[in-house]
Amino acid sequence: MTATAVDDHTTSADPAAAEDGKGPVTDAPLIYFSSVSDNTHRFVTKLGVRAARMPLLTKEPTLQATRPYVLVLPTYGGITGKGAVPRQVVKFLNNEQNRSLLKGVIGAGNTNFGETYCLAADIIAAKCHVPVLYRFEVMGTSEDVDRVTKGLEEFWT
């Protein structure tokens, strides 16, 4: 598998730290991953809902969800779709409780990536049998923010 460079770097630095558990516990209804580019982070911030950000590095202990939540994540990787789901998110979902509390996915991406636009959201939706709720590009427009804010309110009622 073609890991992203970030992960090559961090896992080689500390391979033993890759086990799950003992991470920060969160009861946020929205959990997300955003790389140092902060694009997804900016989008989530604009939603005005309580949200928890996954650690940037795979070697850090991942989050523990304690209530049903929606996941927001960008897509990594290239044409083949390999490595589309950020490793940090794979680690998070390998935790059974985190997986069972997942209710929906929102994908961030760029249509310029063609068939792999928001592919990571598709992959997780298929594997965890939850819906893809929405897709947005880069850090989202104000219309995306409005639609997701409203959509999430209705989704939880």
Binding site: M1, T2, T4, A5, V6, D8, H9, S35, V36, S37, D38, N39, R42, G77, G78, I79, T80, G81, K82, G83, A84, V85, R87, V90, L93, N94, E96, R99, G104, N110, T111, N112, F113, G114, E115, Y117, C118, L119, D122, I123, A125, A126, K127, P131, V132, L133, Y134, R135, E137, V138, M139, T141, S142, E143, R147, V148, K150, G151, E154, F155
Partner: protein
């Protein structure tokens, strides 16, 4: 080039085992994995389709591609290279050399399309048009002038606007042909270029934002004002250029929506809010779908318009990574 290009002051051996910014490695790997050459695309399968275009449509297509060739040439020989002395890490320098090379590959790709589809006379005429079109020359000159300026962050803004905005008056056309099942192999090649430009715009925009982190509030405001001024200047010229090209086939208004949509993404790559409202960014769904089959409205679960609960698409799941 008329004047001497500034070079990096001091060079040290690049150590890929000591990384200051993980994004450099991430983007390097992405670019290397995405590497391609035009010879891999069976362009000759488009010869029959080309013959079904009217003479006007053929002329338009040739002009669009010479325009794109000019921009790629600017980006390869001036743009990406001019960013190298400003690089903060040695790995950023290496990524920029990769970007510069791929821009040369892109520029050469259009020549592959030309030689497959058109006669030498038609090719020469299209290149002559590109040197004589005022708006095309102006767009190249505006960007080139900023590259030669003395402000590293302004160079990054100009570069991101070129990568993420200025190409799209041209990229529209192969997507349009593809949506009508014409020149589909050419469209496949252009999609590879679009994908590369997306990584370039993302990366240079990201480096711009890193550069802003240490800037004073006044300097940040100056750069924001500058970005929007430059975008407006380029946008006005781009509208003229779009009319020059597309009025003959009645597509100019449709192209402009695509320009607005991409201008918004260019701004977002630089960390700024989208500027054009959704009322003018409603890109023709056929064009969006030619760009990305995933982009249609049916994927908006909230609106209740689609069947997104069922994911029919086969995806690579990398089972070795998952515990379930």
């Amino acid at each position: 080039m008329s004047e001497k290009l500034k070079l990096v002051d001091q060079v040290q051996a690049i150590n890929w085992n000591r990384i200051q910014d993980d994004k450099d490695v991430d983007v390097w790997n992405r670019l290397v994995n995405n590497f391609w050459l035009p010879e891999k695309v069976p362009l000759s399968n488009d010869v029959q389709s080309w013959a079904t275009l009217t003479p006007e449509e053929q002329t338009l297509t040739m002009r669009v591609f010479t325009g794109l060739t000019l921009l790629d040439t600017v980006q390869a020989t001036v743009g990406a290279v001019s960013l190298i002395p400003d690089a903060v890490t040695p790995h950023e320098e290496a990524v920029l050399t990769n970007i510069a090379f791929m821009e040369s590959v892109h520029a050469k790709s259009y020549s592959s399309i030309f030689s497959t589809l058109a006669s030498t006379k038609e090719i020469d005429e299209a290149f002559r048009w590109s040197t004589e079109n005022v708006n095309l020359q102006k767009k190249a000159n505006i960007v080139t002038d900023y590259y030669r300026g003395d402000d590293p962050l302004k160079r990054k803004v100009a570069s991101t606007l070129l990568e993420s905005f200025l190409f799209y008056s041209g990229f529209y056309l192969p997507m349009y042909w593809s949506s009508r099942a014409k020149l589909t192999n050419t469209a496949d090649l252009v999609r590879l270029i679009i994908r590369d430009e997306a990584v370039h715009g993302y990366y240079i925009g990201y480096k711009f934002q890193r550069g802003l982190e240490s800037a004073t509030p006044e300097r940040r405001q100056e750069l924001k004002d500058y970005t929007f001024e430059l975008l407006f200047e380029l946008y006005e010229n781009e509208v003229q250029y779009t009319h020059d090209l597309y009025d003959s086939v009645g597509l100019a208004e449709d192209v402009k929506k695509f320009l607005h949509y991409n201008a918004n993404k260019a701004l977002m790559n630089l960390g700024y809010e989208a500027m054009f409202p959704s009322s003018v960014t409603d890109v023709n769904p056929a064009i969006l779908s030619a760009l990305s089959p995933n982009a249609d409205e049916n994927h908006d679960f909230f609106s209740g318009s689609g069947s997104s609960y069922v994911i029919g698409k086969a995806v690579n799941t990398e089972d070795e990574d998952w515990d379930f």
